[in-house]
């Protein structure tokens, strides 16, 4: 069958073309560098982050003297976050949505309904109390020691004894370890989620010091009243090893919080985007091959043969679909080998992923052929390449560009970015490769239907235009 022979030949030609390997291996590397260098730029944007908040905190009870105090530090942390404004601006840092379950949190984060979700564990208040007690002990102990020495040196034994008893009381706070940990749930490829991750590091430490200060003041007041002493707080520097004291974990959606490095988490969801981007770039090579055939009068010659336009264009598009699938598998294998990505190995999800890669390749090749229909091969190749490069930088959601919902498709929200077919391919691939805990194959159907629609539309336009303007007969 001539279509199969065309497909086989075009695949052979592609695999024997060195330039293609530059596209395959070179461009992903360039993308990584571009994203890496641009990351600080996206993080600097000031806007309110809509975040989720989920608390499993059981609260904490503790005693100061004869008073028993109950504290719910998670509620205080919520209020603290809710009261934050950007410096010198009237823009709130967060708008917070309470979320009841972990599964809901993961879904909302995956769908970017929220930038990310702050998850507080059941011992959150206990941890804040421990931090407050530990810091209070560290701050007050040297002050009381100094007062004891002063009283002794002045010969005021009675005062020294009162300070000593206060010191013994304070020793109740000794031996408390200081470690705060909480979890951010989000999509690490979404820049705002990473911004939240960085912000929480900053705000949790501020919150802990703020609450510790309150605790210290309260404890000092108690000691002063109980032992009739005066304790004057001075500026004491406390050496805290932040890395050990604070532990903000990032749990990427869909994958559990496996012990991955930040880079592993980051690339895990970045890889589908990079694969589609590589497919986009590599598929532009299709244009060079067809251009070669135009230049060498092969297309003219084919008019005398029995091959039809639909066989030739169909063969070209199918070939590039298969080449894209091969590229995707290769890149995925590299990503897995480097430990960048953990994927679900379910047969149906892998099958869906391969299908998505094929469709993405067909769309890109069709896109290139449409340009080639109207202009010469050099202009078409450059324009396709530049436009796809630009598109590829925007479609993966790395930039804080508004992506409004413009409608619904099969129960799924249709956003502005969904009008760019490669975005749909990335969304599909993420869901089928990475987010299998959240989406089952049926959930992918609306995206797949949209992708299939784009494939048919682009291929149809490519067929009509290429046939009319390139394979045209003069009569």
């Amino acid at each position: 069958m001539v279509v199969i022979d065309i497909v086989k030949s075009k695949i052979k030609i592609a695999l024997r073309t060195k330039e293609l390997y530059i596209y395959v291996l070179g461009f992903p590397l360039i993308f990584m560098i571009i994203y890496g260098s641009m990351a600080p730029m996206y993080y600097s944007t000031i806007s309110t982050m809509h975040i989720g908040f989920i608390s499993r905190d059981l609260g904490v009870s503790y005693s100061i003297g004869n008073n028993t105090i109950s504290s719910n530090y998670s509620a205080l942390f919520y209020e603290y976050l809710d009261s934050l404004y950007y410096e010198s601006q009237s823009v709130k840092v967060f708008s917070i949505e309470n979320i009841s379950s972990l599964s809901e949190a993961e879904k909302k984060a995956a769908r970017l309904d929220v930038t990310g979700v702050i998850y507080l564990p059941d011992n959150f208040s206990q941890m804040i109390y421990n931090a407050s007690a530990s810091l209070t002990y560290s701050i007050v102990t040297p002050i009381i020691s100094q007062e004891i020495n002063n009283a002794y040196s002045r010969g005021d034994i009675e005062l020294a004894n009162r300070y000593l008893r206060a010191m013994q009381d304070l020793s109740n706070l000794a031996n408390t370890t200081f470690s705060i940990s909480l979890i951010i749930i989000g999509d690490p490829t979404y820049s705002k989620a990473m911004e939240l991750y960085e912000a929480v590091w900053k705000y949790i430490s501020s919150f802990v010091f703020q609450e510790s200060k309150k605790f210290t003041d309260r404890y000092i007041n108690y000691l002063e009243d109980e032992y009739n002493i005066a304790i004057e707080l001075n500026t004491t520097s406390i050496n805290i090893e932040m890395d050990k004291a604070f532990n903000v974990q990032f749990r990427r959606i869909g994958g559990g919080s496996a012990k991955e490095t930040f880079l592993q988490m980051y690339y895990s969801l970045l890889v589908p985007g990079q694969i589609i981007q590589s497919v986009m770039i590599a598929s532009v090579s299709a244009i060079y091959m067809v251009a070669y055939e135009i230049d060498r009068k092969i297309l003219q010659r084919l008019k005398l043969t029995k091959v039809t336009s639909i066989e030739y264009i169909g063969g070209t598009l199918i070939a590039w679909g298969i080449i894209s699938m091969m590229l995707g598998v290769l890149l995925l294998a590299i990503a897995i080998a480097l430990g960048y990505v953990k994927i679900a190995w379910s047969l149906i999800d892998m099958g869906l992923s391969l299908l998505i890669l094929i469709l993405a390749g067909v769309i890109t090749a069709a896109y290139s052929l449409i340009f080639l229909s109207f202009t010469n091969e050099k202009i078409a190749a450059n324009f396709s390449l530049i436009s796809l490069l630009t598109l590829s930088l925007f479609i993966a959601g790395y930039f804080p560009i508004p992506n409004p919902v413009i409608g619904f498709l099969l129960g799924r929200e249709l956003t502005l970015f969904d009008l760019v077919p490669w975005r749909t391919a990335i969304t599909c691939l993420r869901k089928s490769l990475i987010l299998v805990d959240i989406y089952n194959p049926l959930d992918i159907l609306p995206d797949l239907a949209l992708l299939a629609f784009w494939t048919i539309l682009y291929s149809g336009i490519a067929f009509i235009t290429f046939d009319k303007f390139r394979l045209k007969r003069p009569y």
Partner: protein, 325 residues
């Protein structure tokens, strides 16, 4: 068979391509062809001889359906040019443009098999045909080699072999030996002669006289978009410049020298090209002796020779310009 097909009587060869008053004016108003009429006969090698820009490739593009003529009509195997690309007759015609129509990243065998597939030749039959053609064109040893790794001559052989995969009745070759070294050119000319012996009709364009002279049953001289004359090489030479050409080279040709020559040659046709004067005719030795007797001419003459007329001479006398110009 289409009613337009032109078949001569039993003694006349069959016309396979008939071109009638075809003109082509490009969008930029350049007139590439002017009222061209031509008939190509079955099983002949017909050469279109003309310099670059004469309109040869334009005419071939019109014959193969790549270009629409501005006016005029033509029929290929009896089918009007308007119907040609939609008719199955197009499968009986093949052409090899100046650019080698090959896929550089495929091997020799893969190229040929792909072209066979384009003609929807059954696989087994295609394999046999490909093997046969590779043997004929001595490509068997290089069958597994990428086309990009072949020499220019071998690539051209491959392009021609690919054009024969569908066993066409008419093969059109545009400048088949362009860019080849003399050895490869000779080999390729031998291959084209073999095709003629197999009964193929071959229309080729060339600006190389020796090629046209060696291969052609008939030659059409094309110049500035017009067919100047058509005939077999011998008749064409005889008609255009007789059997001989007297080739005179002077230090300088001024009016006095020219007047002296014209007076002595006494009505023979001549043409002045730079410092040369060419005189056409038969038995020109007597004229040469007369010229030598003239002291003025003898003193200013650097060289004089009588040689058999060539197609190049014919072209020169017919068009007033040299082929290379």
């Amino acid at each position: 068979m289409n009613s337009n097909i032109l078949i001569g009587d039993a003694t006349m060869p069959k016309v396979v391509i008939k071109i009638d008053k075809v003109s082509k004016i490009y969008d930029n108003k350049v007139k590439a062809l002017n009222n061209v009429s031509l008939e190509i006969y079955e099983k002949e090698i017909f050469s279109l001889l003309g310099p670059n820009g004469a309109g040869k490739t334009t005419l071939i593009k019109i014959i193969t359906g790549q270009l629409k003529p501005s006016s005029g009509e033509l029929w290929i195997l009896g089918v009007s040019h308007k119907e040609f690309l939609n008719s199955s007759v197009r499968h009986r015609v093949n052409f090899v443009p100046q650019e080698n129509v090959i896929w550089e990243k495929l091997t020799v065998e893969e190229n040929m098999m792909l072209m066979a597939s384009m003609y929807k030749i059954p696989r087994r039959e295609a394999r046999e045909k490909v093997k046969e053609l590779m043997e004929e064109f001595e490509l068997l040893d290089t069958r597994k080699r990428l086309a990009s790794k072949l020499s220019g001559g071998m690539r051209r052989k491959l392009a021609i072999a690919m054009a024969l995969i569908n066993d066409p009745d008419i093969l059109i070759l545009d400048e088949p030996t362009a860019g080849l070294d003399p050895r490869m050119r000779a080999i390729l000319l031998g291959d084209i002669e073999k095709l003629k012996r197999k009964g193929k009709t071959i229309l080729l364009t060339t600006h190389i006289v020796e090629e046209a002279e060696r291969l052609s049953d008939r030659v059409g001289i094309i110049h500035r978009g017009e067919i100047i004359t058509v005939d077999d090489p011998s008749s064409l030479k005889a008609k255009a410049c007789g059997s001989e050409v007297l080739d005179l080279l002077f230090r300088k040709i001024d009016d006095v020298v020219l007047e002296a020559v014209v007076r002595i040659i006494n009505g023979h046709d001549y043409i002045k090209v730079g410092d040369k004067i060419l005189i056409k005719g038969d038995n020109l030795l007597g004229i040469l002796n007369e010229l030598r007797k003239n002291k003025l001419l003898y003193d200013s003459m650097l060289n004089a020779s009588i040689r058999k007329s060539t197609l190049e001479d014919a072209f020169l006398f017919l068009t007033g310009t040299m082929l290379g110009e």
